[in-house]
Assembly symmetry: C2
Homo-oligomer: 416 residues x 2
């Protein structure tokens, strides 16, 4: 099957999904969950082959762990499908309505996007998660996972297709591209007329490649150089707790903090305490000259220019002393990726100013950046976190996978 044929099949499926009711979509999600559980042995066998190939190829242990499926992880995927079934259906929501002076009744309603493409890396659970969110929002999807997980993804997709078929929905609602070479990914990025939006999920290299090469509309996700700014008026204990949490609770994720900015007025008292707690959590500190001077009795490393733009994804933090809130904002707007930013302050004026001026999807006052997450925001599930401004910004749940349509009822109106 060529990619264009897959695109045609997806468009056909999407036409049916667009007029499929909530109950039928939920029935299909339940059937897909059941099929995942029933086909657990086949999925585990396929996964074992992927793991063996990855080990033979010398792939590093952390990636192999992300690739590995267990009965518990398959159960988690099935539960995820059932959780999506339990979420409210966004489709058909009436967003606005008015009657114009000429009698035309105009309604703006929420409709599916159509066909969503997703390009992702090694984790096979994304296959089920993404398929569930796309289906619930009335969209067909074309999935392109990483080479290392191809056998697992094929087995998962076969189970999902069996569930769709059992529920009477088109199997082409969820399609996996089985050819994992780069040329095919490029071709997918150019499927204009078939793919309405393409969402890359993965590392910075993957996302850059999609942004540079895609001619279909793209939602850029994920990259997070997030900052904690400790204002002159901050509660130092709170600043330390938030910084340690934002850096250490899960350093590999995009909402983890990478840089600590500290107002020069509070730096002499705040930095030693925060540094002590970070070092206790095994974090390497990369400091500007002023921070290094204050922390001269601590094991620190001098920061280089590239540190300010680096998403470490690891137990490393860069630290800079700034002259003012304005300097902190200027640093954030220069080096940040527009993901999540935080000010720690007791001053309402400082909070308001920072939150208005820091240009990011989520701006916090006195809370950890780690909360930028669809579940934590009450969306139930997310397909990624948008760091662009168009269409969706921040965590993307079901509503972010939809478009709108105007319905206009008249009784013969013509325009003069």
């Amino acid at each position: 099957m060529t990619l264009q044929q897959m695109g045609e099949a997806a468009v056909t499926a999407s036409r049916q999904l667009a007029v499929t009711g909530t109950a039928a979509k939920n029935t299909a999600l339940e059937a897909m969950a059941l099929a995942l559980e029933e086909q657990q042995d086949a999925i585990l066998a396929a996964n074992a082959e992927d793991i063996a190939a990855a080990v033979a190829a010398g792939i590093k242990a952390s990636l192999i762990d992300r690739l590995r499926l267990t009965p518990a992880r398959i159960g988690g995927m099935a539960d995820g499908l059932r959780e999506v079934a339990a979420l409210p259906d966004p489709i058909g929501e009436i967003l606005e309505g008015s009657t114009r002076p000429n009698g035309l009744r105009i309604q703006k309603i929420r409709v599916p996007m159509g066909v969503i493409g997703i390009i992702y890396e090694a984790r096979p659970n994304v296959t089920a998660d993404a398929a569930a969110l796309c289906l619930k929002s009335g969209n067909a999807c074309i999935l392109r996972g990483g080479k290392e997980a191809i056998r697992s993804n094929m087995a998962v997709t076969a189970a999902l297709a069996a569930g769709l078929a059992a529920a009477g929905l088109p199997e082409a609602s969820v399609q996996l591209i089985e050819d994992t070479d780069r040329e095919t990914a490029r071709e997918m990025m150019g499927l204009n007329g078939y793919i309405n939006v393409l969402i890359p999920r993965g590392g910075a290299g993957l996302i850059r490649s999609v942004v540079e090469n895609a001619t279909v509309p793209v939602i850029e996700t994920g990259s997070g150089v997030c900052h904690i700014y400790v204002d002159n008026s901050a509660d130092i204990g709170m600043a330390a707790d938030i910084t340690v949490n934002a850096k250490c609770s899960r350093p590999s994720v995009c909402n983890a903090a990478e840089t600590l900015l500290v107002h020069h007025g509070i730096a002499p008292s705040a930095l030693p305490l925060i540094a002590k707690k970070l070092i206790e959590s095994k974090v390497e500190l990369r400091c500007c000259e002023r921070a290094a001077a204050i922390l001269k009795d601590y094991p620190i490393v001098p920061a280089a220019e590239e540190d300010w733009a680096t998403e470490y994804g690891d137990y490393i933090i860069s630290i800079k002393v700034v002259d003012s809130l304005d300097s902190a904002v200027a640093h954030i707007n220069k080096y940040g990726t527009g993901h999540s930013e935080c000010i720690v302050t007791e001053s309402k004026r400082a909070a308001d100013k920072f939150m208005a001026a820091a240009d990011a999807a989520a701006v916090y006052c006195n809370a950890s950046t780690r909360y930028t997450d669809g579940g934590e925001f009450g969306m139930g599930a997310e397909i990624g976190i948008s760091t662009q401004k168009m269409h969706a910004r921040g965590p993307m749940g079901l509503r972010e996978l939809t478009s709108v349509k105007y319905l206009i009822h008249g009784d013969g109106q013509i325009r003069v």
Copy 2:
């Protein structure tokens, strides 16, 4: 000034505009309107040079008419700026809010996009219109107009800059790219990190070039192959009136109808009447075989396959007899551009089915497609009509030029 320098200046201006209040933006719009009026002579002189060059280059009369400015047209541009000042400011609107179980207070608010790029063709009034809508929505803009209008656009932009300066807002809020060669347009399409969204306004060739070449996010606009479907149960007189209005009231615009689809059951009675009225309005009829058989006594032309996908923009309409509402929808979803579609019917069931299944930004029952327009929809003004599903669909007013941002207030929350 290089494009990158313009991008940097635009980003700097956008940071200031993002925190500029409604009153200051409205004052600037009024000052810009006044400056256009005061600099009328300079603008007319520049325009006269453009016109002379266009005449010398043998450019056709209809394009020269679109290029021509008069005192009345400059007055219209100034009035347009004042109308935008009178519109509600979308920025700061609180779209959602909730308090999470952990006490975090989350608000989703409307913020500017940042920097909007607009690529357009000959009409110099777009320069003022686009600048006004971008400014009111808190965005800086980088404009790239057509070569033919460059002197006019420079004179208009100089007036707008004078207005901005008089009102104390950065002149770089509105920048015009003065180099009109293709290479510069390409470079603009790749200004990632500076341009948050790029909107092409113009013919199909321009839009295709932007979609294919841009790496910045794009909103596709304008192309309209719109259909009128006359259902079996239609009021034939209403069908004729709507068809003639949708085709003839302004054939060159994107919401004009290009194809008439008629249910076979009503075709023998409906088609002769509709055809007669179209012919009276000097419309050429390009008919499928079945329509041609019914209209054998009328001066018609056989339709070729490419007619179904053609936006004539002229007094030409293609006509096809279809077997059912489903066939009409299938034709529309195959050949339409997702702009505006209409069913004429007295059947509620047919109307509901058509409006759910026809995949377009605006779907009408018993009204002319000519109403797809920001002004007619009550938006006040529009920057274009999106035919894509991402971000905005249909007429784009001030709100469609905005993004969102989450503000999260805590009191020390950290994530476990």
